[in-house]
């Protein structure tokens, strides 16, 4: 067995978490730098993984396999396919920015009694989340995946409940949060508990399904089961398969909020600090969609096809509904949250369109949405931290006083409405085409999402950035160096991936082909023969 690259990639942030947590209370800054260092090291490893990965090669590469709980056939099996590589890269990429953006979010409050080393805890928890997310992207053993899929909730719970928005601890923001400081804290813990309960319920149902799968299949190895399913050697009773599928899908649908299981997301993202909100929607939720692609389709191809229509309709509802509700929001972060719900609708739609364009698009979408939401949300966080309010109505004319902030905010917004030339456009269009190819009506209705996206984004931009300058905003200062360092790379990525997404797609495509072959699906062929070659003269 060669060097266990995947294990190390996942373990490194965990080690970092422990070390960061161990830093003594006084050395707050040291802890920050330590966390940043480890996240960057993880990024380097992730890049290494991406380099070591041959797109043309076997489906799962860099695999590791060790016996773990022999009695139940649970093995410690890791392996990445293109999708996994892309998402690991995304995670490892975003964490440093999240840490950098949250640099001061966990500094102990002066007016507050000192919590136990809040700063160390904050960054340690973030790194812990990263470790768990990465390993659940790597796990090819269902049980192993389940463990980390659930364990993720614990650090997230503390991140949401323990570290509120700095804004909500200041006067005007307390008003924004709808009352006093205590009120804000209460809302925060409410959001955290809600997040925990939703995901726990999903997880429990999934646990039942996992056990059921073991009973049926006799082991937990994704590769073996998938192969057996594809080869038809392992056949489940129709109803059993459907129930198991639903069990898995429910958990994933909660995690990647699908209507009507989405209501935890706005609370969580609204109450958490901006970096944590990014962590939720850009990183943790991706595990849900990723798992749909890898586990639901791979393990239960027939059931997936059986459930497709219903799921597509739900996804469609998510798209339109999320966008419409986003338009009606008064709170910046909640607005972004509902926008994300709409985007997750697109992702799920692409996954279950069962076309290579749809699924490639969905995978690209996971990455791009991660980056674009990060850009938008982090800038929003900077904005909120300046004014101390999450209410859109409290802003106006920021563009005049802080042009750079406004510009980055606009670019983030344009990415959210998937403007061509920015990364999200590619993925969104792929998803739409892929869906349209098989379900024209749904595809057409989904395009309404494009218009609505423009609506809520531009309304947000207009209300906050343009118009006459509000009194409280007049003294607002523009982005600092640290903040520019956070946003600029993200924007560069957005443009780069929008203009030249090939590096990603060539990694993703083979994996998607495998997934499609798992479910025995072929892309629909064009209806008419095409004569001229591409690029020849039009006449």
């Amino acid at each position: 067995m060669s060097f266990p690259l995947l294990t190390v990639t996942a373990a490194l942030p965990a080690v970092g978490a422990v070390l960061t947590a161990a830093v003594p209370a006084a050395r707050r800054t040291a802890a920050k730098w330590l966390a940043l260092l480890f996240s960057l090291a993880t990024l380097a490893l992730a890049v290494l993984v991406a380099v070591r990965f041959e797109p043309g090669g076997a489906r799962y590469q860099l695999t590791e396999s060790r016996a773990w709980i022999a009695d139940f056939g649970v093995r410690y099996e890791l392996g990445v396919d293109g999708i996994g590589v892309a998402l690991i890269a995304l995670t490892a990429l975003l964490i440093p920015f999240i840490i950098l953006a949250g640099w001061h979010d966990a500094d102990p409050l002066e007016n507050k009694s000192q919590r136990w080393r809040p700063t160390q805890g904050f960054f340690a928890l973030i790194l812990m989340v990263e470790a768990m997310v990465i390993i659940s992207f790597e796990a090819t053993d269902v049980f192993l995946f389940y463990i980390f899929f659930e364990a993720m909730l614990i650090p997230m719970y503390f991140l949401i409940g323990g570290f509120g928005d700095r804004a909500t601890s200041s006067r005007s923001a307390a008003a924004a949060a709808g009352g006093t400081d205590e009120n804000a804290a209460a809302q925060r813990s409410y959001a955290a508990v809600k997040f925990l309960l939703y995901n726990l319920v999903g997880g429990l149902i999934m646990l039942a399904a996992v056990i059921g799968l073991y009973v049926v299949a006799g082991n937990f190895s994704l590769q073996e089961i998938t192969a057996a399913r594809a080869a038809g050697t392992l056949d489940m009773a129709t109803n059993t398969e459907r129930l198991l599928f639903l069990g898995f899908f429910f958990a994933f649908a909660v995690k990647a909020p699908l209507w009507p299981l989405h209501t935890w997301l706005p609370n969580a993202m609204g109450e958490a600090t901006a970096p944590v909100a990014v962590l939720i929607t850009a990183v943790v939720d991706k595990v849900g969609t990723f798992a749909m692609l890898r586990f639901c389709l791979g393990l239960f191809p027939d059931a997936s096809k059986w459930a497709t229509p219903a799921i597509l309709v739900l996804a469609l509802i998510s798209i339109v509904y999320g966008a419409l509700v986003a338009v009606g929001q008064r709170d910046i972060k909640r607005l972004v949250a509902y926008a994300s719900i709409s985007h997750f609708g697109f992702i799920i739609m692409g996954i279950f369109a069962m076309t290579s364009q749809g699924q490639s698009g969905a995978t690209l979408y996971m990455v791009n949405h991660g980056i674009s939401t990060a850009a938008l949300m982090l800038v929003a966080g900077f904005l909120i931290s300046r004014r101390g309010s999450r209410l859109i109505a409290d802003y106006g004319g920021v563009q005049k006083v802080a042009p750079v902030l406004a510009g980055t905010f606009l670019i983030g917004g344009l990415a959210t409405l998937s403007l061509p030339g920015l990364a999200p456009f590619v993925s969104e269009f792929l998803v739409l085409v892929g869906t349209f190819a098989r379900y024209p009506v749904i595809g057409i209705i989904a395009t309404i999402g494009i218009v609505l996206a423009a609506l809520y984004t531009l309304v947000l931009y207009q209300r906050t950035m343009t118009g006459p300058v509000k009194e409280e905003v007049r003294t607002m200062q523009d982005l600092r160096l640290r903040e520019v360092l956070v946003v600029a790379p993200l924007i560069v990525l957005l443009i780069g991936l929008g203009v030249y997404p090939k590096p990603l797609t060539q990694i993703i495509n083979p994996a998607v082909e495998h997934t499609l072959s798992d479910v025995h699906e072929k892309d629909p062929k064009p209806q008419v023969a095409v004569e001229a070659k591409n690029g020849e003269a039009a006449k």
Binding site: H262, V325, G328, A437, T447, G467, T505, E513, Q527, A538
Partner: protein
């Protein structure tokens, strides 16, 4: 030669990047840089044009593939450019007029501290527009399509401190988005039908597709065109777009961007030819907008809004022509080019007038300006003559051709369309004369502006007048130049195809009748605004006038139906989300809580009652074991 095409776009793009990222240190030279990049692009365009002219009519199509953009199984989208006569025409128009307007803006935006940014946006627009016309497939075209949308969003809302500007920008973008929806659906249809959306393969194999498919595609393309070219029913944004600086109105909302819809239709000629029903719809849209815009143009007192209405109606002409099929494509483009000249000229003139009048836009507060700004007066006047189709000037030829072609459609359709086109010509004459009279003739009606400054009309600086002169020159001679020896026809024909429509009425008759309606229109206008003095405060006016002032109530309709309805919808949805979707979950939580609260009473804390339960439990266990034994 091919690799010059990339440069064509790269130049202004580079300009935009440099200017927008340059920061304050570029404030001094920013505008010159921007103009330089635009001019460079124009230069490259000229070189390419010369190259094309050097080739035979058949191989005048250059093709350059940069790289594969989105390589996904069964879905090949390239970043590739195709330069043929059609694109070339647009390239010259865009870069040429664009450069002029850059120069103009140097003077016009002199006192704006964000001038650098303005030029950055202008360059961005040029790049996007060039991408739009040079793309060799619909997806890339879509990128340009949205790109110009973004640029116009940024430029309309350039004076963001004015809420009206911000709102107008948002509105423009949203309405365009509706159109883009059509374009993206069209692309999806193309993909599912042909498995590709590159121009070459699609047009080559249109024959294999059913007419139903083609009609669907064509209609979606038309929707897109309506959005971008401000055709009914998506025209409402153009009027508000006048909130932007005047050069923007000239470049984007008169000369180039708004004509993108026409380009799209003409470019997709093959598809439309295969879908006669769609073509009919196109002509209808064109005709309706033609009249609609003209009527709106008559009622507006804001000089820019009046011109905007005229733009709408002129584009209506083009769309109408494009809807006529091979008979009209060429003339559509021709009118597009000539219109580019004179409408840009008119807007620049308007801008110059406002520049001299403390940015006053109400024509009723102008009057008698011809003495004070002679150059503006002359250039504006020439543009005016051109647009109303004064014989010999460019508008005359292009519009005449379109009317003739409309008649050539044959049957009642032909008569109706032709009649509408004629009528439009008359109304055009009327409102343009009105603008002319209100602005430059009559006696002074100047009012001190809000700040109380008495306006001191003066001629604008050279940087502004020179472009106006050049454009005026173009609007005078372009038509004749194109028409003599049917140069333009021969030039475009290989791309768009052409067949001479045999109209029931002879060309002479058409021309004559055009002249008649023209004279009538001018006459009415003179009788209304030339003879008697013009009230500074607009009279209440007839019902139609009042409706026309409100864009024929179209905005009100939008407001009531879309905005209000949308607000209610979102509000109710927010409520639903909070009380129903979320409420259901919280309800279950509450239920569980209550149940456990009741169960809690069992734990009364008395050791003995616990003992009882223990004892009973033991008993039950024993019973169970015994039963297990028994069975």
């Amino acid at each position: 030669m091919e690799n010059l095409i990339g440069l064509l776009i790269a130049a202004p793009l580079l300009g935009a990047v440099v200017l927008l990222l340059g920061g304050r240190r570029l404030d001094k030279a920013g505008h010159w840089l921007g103009t330089l990049f635009a001019a460079a692009s124009f230069g490259i365009g000229v070189v390419l044009f010369a190259d094309l002219l050097g080739r035979g009519a058949e191989d005048r199509t250059l093709y350059e593939k940069l790289y594969t953009w989105i390589p996904v199984e069964g879905f090949q989208a390239d970043v590739a450019f195709q330069l043929d006569q059609l694109s070339m025409t647009f390239v010259l128009l865009i870069t040429g007029v664009g450069t002029l307007i850059h120069i103009y803006s140097i003077g016009y935006m002199e006192h704006d501290e964000r001038r650098r940014r303005f030029f950055g946006y202008l360059n961005l627009f040029l790049a996007a527009m060039l991408l739009l016309v040079l793309a060799d497939n619909y997806l890339l075209l879509y990128v340009g399509w949205e790109g110009v949308g973004l640029a116009s969003y940024l430029l309309i809302g350039f004076w963001q401190h004015k809420p009206s500007a911000a709102t107008a920008a948002k509105k423009a973008f949203l309405v365009n988005r509706v159109g883009d929806m059509g374009l993206s659906i069209a692309i999806m249809l193309l993909f599912t039908t042909f498995g590709t959306f590159a121009f070459g393969p699609v047009f080559a194999s249109v024959g294999n597709a059913t007419e139903g498919k083609l009609t669907a595609i064509a209609l979606m393309l038309l929707l897109a065109a309506c959005g971008k070219s401000a055709q009914v029913p998506l025209q409402s944004w153009l009027g508000d777009a006048m909130e932007g600086p005047t050069p923007v109105s000239a470049l984007i909302h008169a000369a180039t961007m708004v004509t993108a819809g026409v380009y799209l239709i003409v470019r997709s000629a093959a598809v439309f030819n295969g879908a006669p029903d769609a073509q009919l719809v196109v002509t209808i849209v064109g005709a309706v907008t033609l009249i609609f815009g003209a009527i709106v143009g008559c009622a507006k007192d804001d000089i820019k809004k009046a011109l905007a209405g005229s733009t709408m109606s002129q584009i209506g002409y083009m769309i109408l022509a494009a809807g006529l099929g091979p008979v009209g494509y060429v003339f559509a483009i021709m009118h597009l080019v000539t219109h580019g000249f004179f409408k840009a000229g008119l807007f620049l003139g308007a801008g110059s007038v406002m520049h001299g009048m403390n940015d006053e836009v109400d024509m009723r507060k102008y009057g008698a300006l011809r003495k004070f700004m002679p150059v503006t007066f002359v250039t504006f006047g020439l543009g005016y003559l051109a647009i109303i189709g004064f014989p010999g000037l460019s508008g005359f030829f292009s519009k005449d051709m379109i009317i003739e072609a409309a008649f050539a459609k044959g049957g009642t359709q032909g008569w109706i369309l032709g009649g509408v086109a004629l009528l439009g010509a008359g109304i055009t004459a009327f409102y343009m004369t009105r603008v002319m009279l209100l602005t430059f003739f009559g006696e002074k009606r100047w009012q001190p502006d809000a700040a109380g400054h008495e306006p001191h009309p003066h001629e604008s600086p050279k940087s502004m007048t020179i472009p106006m002169v050049i454009l005026a020159f173009g609007s005078v001679f372009a038509g004749a130049f194109f028409e003599i020896g049917e140069r333009f026809l021969k030039w475009l024909e290989p791309v768009t195809g052409y067949e001479h429509g045999n109209s029931p009425v002879s060309a002479m008759t058409v021309t004559a009748s055009t002249m008649v309606v023209l004279v009538v229109g001018v006459g009415i206008a003179w009788s209304m605004y030339g003879r008697r003095p013009v009230p500074v405060v607009a009279p209440r006016g007839s019902l139609l006038t009042r409706a026309a002032r409100r864009d024929l109530l179209q905005d009100d309709f939008n407001h009531v139906v879309l905005v209000r309805g949308g607000e209610h919808l979102t509000r109710s949805l927010v409520y639903v989300d909070h009380s129903l979707v979320d409420g259901a979950v919280n309800g279950t939580a509450a239920a569980v809580g209550g149940a456990s609260g009741r169960l809690r009473k069992l734990q009364n804390g008395y050791a003995r009652s616990y003992a009882v339960s223990m004892f009973g439990g033991t008993a039950i266990l024993i019973a169970a074991t015994l039963l297990m034994r028994a069975v």
